[in-house]
């Protein structure tokens, strides 16, 4: 596959300059592969046209699973399997079951959402990520543009556009491995 091999990497120092640069690039029809920053930049995902994350929906679904499981467990254990009269109260009543239900909801919601996040973001403790610029976790904000995907533009035109938008450096990056 020709894509995902040759990249132009624009290096920026300031997040506001970066956001304006991304706007300019997209207005000129340049397709951006990804932007790498050491910290989350507000407004960047809107200008990149990213859809809002659906992780909150996942969290909600895991949560109601937790609620259902916890209620089912308690009602079955104390209501059907081995009903006991504790303190003269009914075998299985909702009010005392609320704390465990709530805690279990939160537990499944949190763990499920985080696991989903790590899976969809391809986060694993082995292997090395693709580094476009090793300073992108330190103090530089980096725009990666796939040259082969942007067939309509000349690489030197994109380079000039990046420089005009405030990039302090524009580098080429070639990946030999197929990630």
């Amino acid at each position: 596959m020709a894509a995902n091999k040759n990249f132009l990497v624009g290096v920026f120092d300031d997040e506001d300059v970066l956001v304006d640069a991304v706007k300019t690039l997209r207005a000129k029809g340049v397709k951006i592969h990804e932007v790498f920053t050491p910290f989350p930049v507000h407004g960047l995902d809107e200008v990149l046209g990213y859809r809002r994350s659906r992780l909150p929906i996942a969290a909600f679904l895991f949560g109601i699973t937790g609620t259902s499981l916890a209620l089912l467990m308690q009602f079955w254990m104390l209501g059907f399997d081995w009903p006991m009269i504790i303190g003269g109260k009914p075998h299985a009543a909702l009010p005392p079951f609320i704390p465990v239900t709530f805690e279990f909801t939160v537990l499944l919601s949190a763990l499920g959402m985080v696991a989903t996040f790590m899976i969809v973001s391809d986060m694993k403790p082995y292997g090395k990520p693709r580094q476009f610029d090793v300073r992108s976790t330190d103090d530089k904000l980096v725009v990666a543009i796939d040259v082969d995907v942007n067939k309509a533009q000349d690489p030197s035109a994109i380079t000039q556009l990046l420089k005009d938008s405030g990039a302090s450096e524009v580098n080429k990056k070639v990946f030999d491995d197929q990630h």
Partner: protein, 469 residues
């Protein structure tokens, strides 16, 4: 673009650049351990070793080595449990609740505070486990697992069981929230190690960082996860200490059976937790030279929270006294009369002095911006909060309904030894954290650097290569 008022105190002083932030915080992880750290670890390991001996004796001989008796069935064990759980709550409040309230000053302190929470909850959990005596049976019997006793299930009506679910959930969610926040910073350390040619460090932090690359899409998801976790952690922290308070509130003992306990305990937890955060951070910022990140302004804001929660606790004490009289219930009335002038009055008045009077001193600006005063008062607050739990538990138990059962409680070396064990555990864990993990959340600080630093408040784009070492 973020907007910040020019009249607010800067959150990061010293004209820091992004590179400075990475350097100032990563260097402590990268450097070899210095003598001060070695000394600190030696002391905490010594405490841990002595405490561990006491724990072993307890598990071998049984709970009889403690000073408990039939009347006073809970004393230091549960006092310490509630004390540690309470301390843990400040970390979650800083991480979660202050995030929801968009208080950007939380960013330099939340990592250390969350670490404190996790270690405090571990310390807290040792007490319910040890007080069971046969903890190797007790810890899984507390869970609703199928078994050969006809499948005997746990009692879901009991707050003691709610505690099991609450504390384990609280620990797990806090751990996950803390770790997710650490991932971008581990990536920073990994990449710095690659640049510096430190192969082992690069490999270790590569594994710890889970392949983080910092792409905009991942950051977007990360912020979503952080917000949801904060939204989940907020009711969690409030519910956990409420459930802990219900260990007492749902009983019939005078002095325990009161509806004021849930809010009173939660406020008290935040109160003692912030005091512990201050104690730890005042030392950490000095030793790690982080005064530009954890500024006097941060210290002052934390002290203000201490005034607020300390005042709530003070009002709760007065309410309890009032209701003890106004209710006309002779047992409740006697319970408080006994606290004020019975054999444990010394503990009650220590509690009142430490908890009601000392936080009120922070109304004076000079005191709340003074590092020495803050440090001293933070320790006094924690001592006071220990006495509060001791007073609630022991004075209510030692003289309840039947005068012929009234007796005194005296701690043994093993009661004190378990407490020392948890101090050893807590400080060992905290010092390990301070050495191998970045103590301040670099990524979050960088995200507010432009808007809230003393230089950035003018909104100028950063110049290339301007670093301050």
């Amino acid at each position: 673009m973020q907007v910040s008022s020019a009249i607010r105190d800067p959150l990061i002083t010293g004209g820091k650049t992004l590179k400075d932030v990475s350097h100032d915080i990563s260097r402590h992880v990268e450097n070899k351990p210095n003598p001060a750290w070695m000394m600190a670890m030696a002391v905490s390991l010594a405490l841990f070793a002595f405490g561990f001996y006491c724990v072993c004796v307890l598990l071998w001989e049984g709970v009889g080595v403690w000073g408990l008796n039939k009347t006073v069935g809970w004393a230091w064990d549960i006092t310490n449990f509630v004390w540690w759980v309470g301390i843990g709550h400040a970390g979650t409040l800083i991480s979660a609740i202050l995030l929801l309230f968009r208080q950007r000053w939380r960013m330099s302190i939340n990592r250390a505070a969350e670490a404190m929470t996790i270690f405090a909850v571990i310390c807290a959990a040792t007490f319910p486990l040890m007080h069971m005596g046969r903890l190797w049976l007790g810890f899984y019997w507390a869970l609703p697992l199928p078994n050969t006793f006809g499948s005997l299930w746990v009692n879901f009506n009991s707050p003691l069981l709610w505690d099991v679910f609450a504390i384990s959930t609280y620990f797990t969610v806090s751990l996950v929230f803390w770790y997710i926040g650490l991932i971008p910073d581990f990536a920073t350390i990994r990449d710095r190690a690659i640049v510096q040619g430190a192969k082992t460090r690069a490999a270790i932090y590569n594994a710890l960082s889970f392949g983080w690359s910092g792409g905009a899409k991942t950051w977007m998801r990360y912020e979503s996860v952080a917000l949801i976790l904060a939204g989940l952690s907020t009711p969690l922290v409030l519910s956990v200490h409420t459930i802990v308070s219900m260990d007492f509130a749902t009983s019939v003992i005078p002095g325990w059976h009161t509806t004021i306990f849930p809010p009173y305990f939660v406020a008290g937890a935040i109160f003692s937790g912030f005091a512990m955060v201050l104690t730890l951070l005042l030392v950490t910022r000095k030793v790690f030279k982080l005064e530009d990140y954890i500024t006097i302004y941060h210290i002052e804001l934390m002290n203000i929270i201490i005034i607020v929660t300390g005042s709530i606790v003070g009002i709760a004490y007065i309410t309890e006294l009032f209701i003890a009289w106004y209710s006309g219930v002779e047992y409740e009335g006697y319970a408080f009369y006994n606290r004020v002038q019975g054999p444990y009055a010394w503990a009650y008045w220590s509690m009142m002095t430490c908890n009601v009077i000392s936080p009120q001193l922070f109304w004076i600006k000079k005191i709340r911006t003074s590092l020495v005063a803050t440090f001293v008062l933070s320790i006094i607050v924690n001592i006071g909060m220990w006495f509060e739990r001791f007073v609630i538990i022991v004075t209510s138990l030692h003289r309840d309904f039947l005068p012929s059962s009234w007796t005194m409680f005296h701690p043994t070396m093993y009661d004190i030894g378990e407490y020392v064990f948890t101090f050893g555990l807590f400080f060992t864990a905290f010092f390990l954290f301070a050495k191998f993990f970045p103590v301040v959340n670099m990524a979050e600080i960088k995200s507010i650097l432009k808007a809230t630093s003393s230089e950035g408040q003018h909104g100028t784009p950063r110049e290339v290569g301007k670093t301050h070492h």
